[in-house]
Every structure is written in structure tokens, then in C-alpha cells.
Point group: C2
Chain length 338, copies 2
DNA sequence: CCCTGGCACTCCACGTCACCGAGTGCCAAT
DNA sequence: ATTGGCACTCGGTGACGTGGAGTGCCAGGG
């Protein structure tokens, strides 16, 4: 177990390094933080911290830099989430209050988060599987072509084109629409397959084919690929970090374009509370020098989706966590109002 | 007027520079392109080309680099659009054919274009103002809350939440829905305001407020901000250019995040045929070292939107133009099939 | 009149070298 | 356990020299 002061030294190293982006030495530490001990003592502490793997030196005769393990300890034990300032909170509210629909909420949120943290922001649309069905609409676009529109309590709207095997009459359509809504409206999505399974049976033989087509189209929207959508913003902020460039920024951009990767990442995070994944804790190769701060958000207690930021491991964790948490709360409020 | 050979020299310079990314000298030119003249002659030609502003040297005793004006001449007079190879064409077709709805088509297109050109791809959704209304749907989500769903012939679906001043009965809703569709279905969007202007008059006084609210919400979707949507992909490709980085890549990323900027850019392009805007021809400051190749696409002769790529001025113009044109054609075909 | 070979000149890129300074580890003293 | 002292390491920086690619110009030849 590390002594109290050594933890204090680690905290100071993290804070300084995050601020200056340069390896921090023993002398500078004692000057900038009043540790009440001499540089030599700090050196001993640093040697111990390095021994334990919390910090490292890029090369002999350079200052120390926190390792992933060091950041982990910092986040777990040494850092408090920094609440936003009053003006910041007001800015959030003003910015989000103008949203007119879910797309708008998500779009504004991602811009807001990127601006607030000066990092890359990621916002997931409310997951279908955690929403309830508000309404299912069936529209006839052409004799043998339907459009299925799905609306959730979180305001999400999914549509899908359907090619019918045979033309489907307007009355049958109304019938199907009514029965479908009778079954699923107000129900949770994961229940839907079970609830509609026997629906084709109650239709005439010749209509059954179309009904089945419609249903399978409905069930397809629950497939992961369409189920989880997300939006990314603030990628320009990536250019603020290091100039190694092709080694640092490219893999990150590539990873960000692979939404699947991000979805998996967010999926691995805890459902409630904030999750911080640091450096190599992220499975994806391109993201081993970044940290991901994410949190669930939702209109009630339960999270319907996640949002967060992606930034360099050397980031201001307390500030970032504060911003992420605050934004998630406001978004939850907005959602609850609808 | 420049002699034939001088144009040939310019072409050679552009080709070599695009290939090597390094200033090209007279000797290398004569070796790699059989110009049938000596380096000294080429030097004279180069001096003339520089005099005219088509090429420049980064510093004395370095090779020459094309200027924006040089690229412009190259594109206008010296380059042919390079048709795609058969495998490439097949790849496009395979990749786009699997799309299930418009979102999917646009998403696939942007990925395809980014991969094909190895640059940043931009795809605009079919513009509402150039589409016709296929259907307008009104759903009652809560007593005083409606959802307006708008479907175009291009497959685009826009939805909007509406808060009604007073609850609106189901029969009135059906009435409004029917009359609305009677007026606008099959009509072009720009006609819509005119067509619905007198609609509130035919309703009872107490319903008029809600009807007006619905109509103004419908008209709002025609406002530019929601009217034009676009998707961007392949930003990771930006890292392939130069390492000046904060001077080159950041402003571009920032510009790309400002969809408004891109929309203006695309808007300035010709409606039919391909448009190439080179370097400083782009009004936006962040894009003065990039070129934008764009082209309209649509299901018929008329373009409903544009797509294109953003890359460094030093790009393979013939190849890029070929890819952009081919993709636009295929997307048009896909759209026509729906 | 245009093309060509020759020649002197210019500068960037690159490698070498020396030096400075921040930072370290270790040790003896308190 | 803490501290001051001291020798050592090593990356960053600037000065310097050199090589080479490239240029402009000029005189001679088709």
C-alpha cells in the first residue's frame, strides 16, 4: 500500500502532466504544489511509484509521466468529479432547450459535449430494446409497397420500406395496423416478437404472406445494426493532441468511423454510473492511447442509451467526467419532458 | 497562348507531383515522360509556365509545384475523366445493391466513395425542394401531441413533433390527413405552401388553431436547416496528407463539421455535370488547400442532390472525377428503382 | 527561331558535433 | 524518514560543413 504522501505525489504528477503535456520532474513538483518536502524526497517517492508501475519515464533523465495504471488509480481514488460552473450549466440548458425533436436533441448534445470537453463526443440514440413502442404505422405507398414507421416513447422514429409479395388492400391494411398496435403499443420492444408471433394466423390465407413480410420487417429493426445508432462530433479536437499524427490520430479516426467498434465500447460500460476506460483497457487497437468516459442517460432512473467522450489518456478527468455527467442529466430531463 | 509542348510539360508536372508529392525538376521530367526534348528546354518551358502563374517553386533551387491555376488548367484542358475498371464498377454495384432504405443508400454511398477515392466523401440527402410529396401522415401520440411524418418520392422521411394548442379529435385528424394528402400528394415541395394556404378556412373555428400549427410545422421542414442534410465519411483519409497538421488538417475537420459550410459549397456547384473547385476557389478559409469534386445525382435527368469528395488540391483528378461520376450514376439508378 | 549542352550558383536536407540543462540515482548526514 | 550534495545521463538545440538536386543563363548548332 502506498503512503498518503505518495498518492499525493501521483496526483500532483497527473495534474501537472495534464496541464503541461510535458514529463514532470521532482523539482517542479515541489515548487508548484506545496508538498512540504524536498525534491529529493519526492524523487524517492517517484522511484517507488515507478517501481509499482504507476508512472514511467520516457527516457533516463526525463521527468515522469503517468501510466495507464497511474491514471486508473487517479480516477478511482484521487479525483473528484468536478461540478460545472454556473455559467456552464446555464449554457447547457440554453443550448439543449431549443431542440425540436430527437434528432435535434442528439445533434445538439454531441456538439455541446464536444465543445464543453474540447474532445470527441459520442452520443448514442436511445436504444430500441430499452424503449417501449408508442405507435406502429403502416402506409401504402404503392399497390405492393408499404412503409412501416415505428415510433418509440423516447421519440425515436424508424422507417422501413416493404415490398409485398401481393398487393394488399386498404381495409386489410387498416385491420393489420389496428391489430398490430393493439398488441404492441405501450409494450417494451423485447416483448414484440413474442406478442406478434401468432398474428398471421388470424388473417386469410392469401394475406398471410404479406402480414409475415411486414412482421419480419418489424423484427428486423430490432437487429443490432439498426437498433443502435450513434452520432459523433468534435473530431477536429483530435488535432490538439501530439503531432505523431499518423501514429496517433489516424487509428482513432478510423476507429471512430467504425460505429460498431464504438457501440461495443459503450456496451462494455456499466449501465448505471460513469465508466472510465483508460488506454489499453480499451480492447480496440486504435484506441489504446485514448480514454473513454461514458455514462448512461435516460428519462427516468433507467438508462436508455449512453453518451460520452473520447480523448487522450492524458485528459482532465475530473472536468471531463463533470461535463459528461451534467450533459447526461440534462438530456435525460429533456427526454422526460417529451 | 501556351504551346502544345508547354501544356504537355504542365500535365507531366501535375501527374508527377500528384504521384510523388515532391516538387518535380526538369531532369526527372524528361526521364519519366518521353518528352523528346532536353532538360534545358523543359527548364525554359517551366520558366514560362511559372511566369504565367501555372507553377511555382517552393524556394529557389527546388523543383516546381502546380499552383491552383495550374490545376485548374489541367482539369479544364488536359485531363480526361478516367473510367473505373470493371472490378471497381462491379464493387460499386454489389455494395450499393444491398441497401434497404434511403438512410442505408446514403450511408453506403458515403463509405463507398471514401474508400474508392481514399478521400473524404460527402453525400447530400435528396433535397426536399426538388422532390415531390408522396404522403403526409398525421399520428396522434397523446391528446394534444401529434407527429407529422413526411415521405418523399425519393424515399426521404422527415418527422416532426407538434404540440397542439387544444386536443384534436380522431375524426378531425382523419379529415385533416385526408385533405392534406389530397392537396399535396404528388405535388412538388415548393408548391406546398401555396397549396395548403387556405386549408384552415375549411375547418371549424376551434380547430383552426391546431390546423395552422400543423401546417406551419409542415412548412418548417422546408426551411434550409432541415431541408438539406448530409453525411460525411472517410475523414481518416485526411491523415494521408502532409504533416503540417494543425495548419492543414484541423481547419478542414472544422469546416467539415460545419455542415452549413459544406452545403453552401455544394450549392455553389453546377446543378448538372461535374464541378471541381480548386484550392482558393473555395470561399471557406479552412478549405483553401483542398479541392472539392462534386456532381449532382438523381433518379432521372434532374439532380435531386449532390455528392462529392474533399481532398488536397494535389489529388488524382481524373481518377477522383471518374469515381465520383460513377458512384453518382449508380446511386441514381438505385433511387430510380424505388 | 528554337533547341541544346555547359557552367556557375543557390539552397535545402542531412549528418556531425558540442554544449546546456533538467532530471535522475545514490549516499552520507541529520 | 528526510535532506543536501554530487556525479551522471541523455534529449534538445544551434553551429557548421557537405552533397546534391535544381535553377538561370549563355553561347553554339540545327
Amino acid at each position: 500500500m502506498l503512503s498518503e504522501r505518495r498518492l499525493e505525489v501521483l496526483r500532483a504528477i497527473v495534474q501537472d502532466y495534464v496541464g503541461t503535456e510535458e514529463p514532470v520532474g521532482s523539482k517542479a513538483l515541489t515548487e508548484r504544489h506545496n508538498l512540504q518536502v524536498s525534491p529529493a524526497t519526492v524523487r524517492n517517492d517517484m522511484a517507488a511509484l515507478e517501481e509499482e508501475g504507476y508512472i514511467a519515464q520516457p527516457h533516463t533523465s526525463a521527468g515522469r509521466v503517468p501510466t495507464d495504471k497511474g491514471y486508473r488509480l487517479f480516477v478511482d481514488k484521487l479525483a473528484d468529479v468536478k461540478p460545472l460552473s454556473a455559467p456552464e450549466r446555464r449554457a447547457i440548458q440554453n443550448f439543449l432547450d431549443g431542440a425540436v425533436d430527437l434528432d435535434d436533441v442528439v445533434g445538439r448534445t454531441v456538439r455541446l459535449l464536444a465543445q464543453l470537453t474540447r474532445q470527441v463526443a459520442v452520443v448514442q440514440y436511445p436504444s430500441l430494446s430499452r424503449s417501449t413502442v408508442r405507435h406502429v404505422e403502416l402506409l401504402s405507398l404503392a399497390p405492393a409497397r408499404l412503409m412501416l414507421v415505428l415510433i418509440t416513447d423516447t421519440g425515436r422514429v424508424e422507417q422501413r420500406l416493404i415490398d409485398c409479395p401481393v398487393p394488399f388492400g386498404e381495409t386489410s391494411l387498416a385491420e393489420l395496423r389496428a391489430r398490430l398496435n393493439g398488441r404492441v403499443a405501450g409494450q417494451r420492444f423485447p416483448e414484440v416478437p413474442r406478442l406478434v408471433a401468432d398474428l398471421p394466423d388470424s388473417f386469410d390465407l392469401e394475406e398471410r404472406g404479406t402480414v409475415s413480410t411486414v412482421l419480419s420487417s418489424l423484427l428486423e429493426t430490432l437487429v443490432e445494426e439498426t437498433e443502435e445508432r450513434l452520432v459523433i462530433g468534435g473530431t477536429a479536437n483530435l488535432t490538439r493532441f501530439g503531432q505523431d499524427f499518423t501514429l496517433t490520430i489516424r487509428p482513432v479516426l478510423e476507429a471512430l468511423e467504425e460505429h460498431v467498434v464504438l457501440l461495443r465500447l459503450l456496451g462494455e460500460a456499466k449501465d448505471s454510473g460513469m465508466t472510465v476506460r483508460i488506454g489499453h483497457e480499451n480492447a480496440h487497437e486504435g484506441l489504446t492511447s485514448t480514454s473513454v468516459v461514458s455514462v448512461g442517460y435516460g428519462s427516468g432512473d433507467e438508462a436508455v442509451a449512453k453518451l460520452g467522450v473520447v480523448g487522450p489518456t492524458r485528459m482532465d478527468y475530473p472536468g471531463t467526467m463533470g461535463a459528461v455527467r451534467a450533459v447526461a442529466r440534462y438530456v435525460g430531463q429533456i427526454l422526460a419532458e417529451n
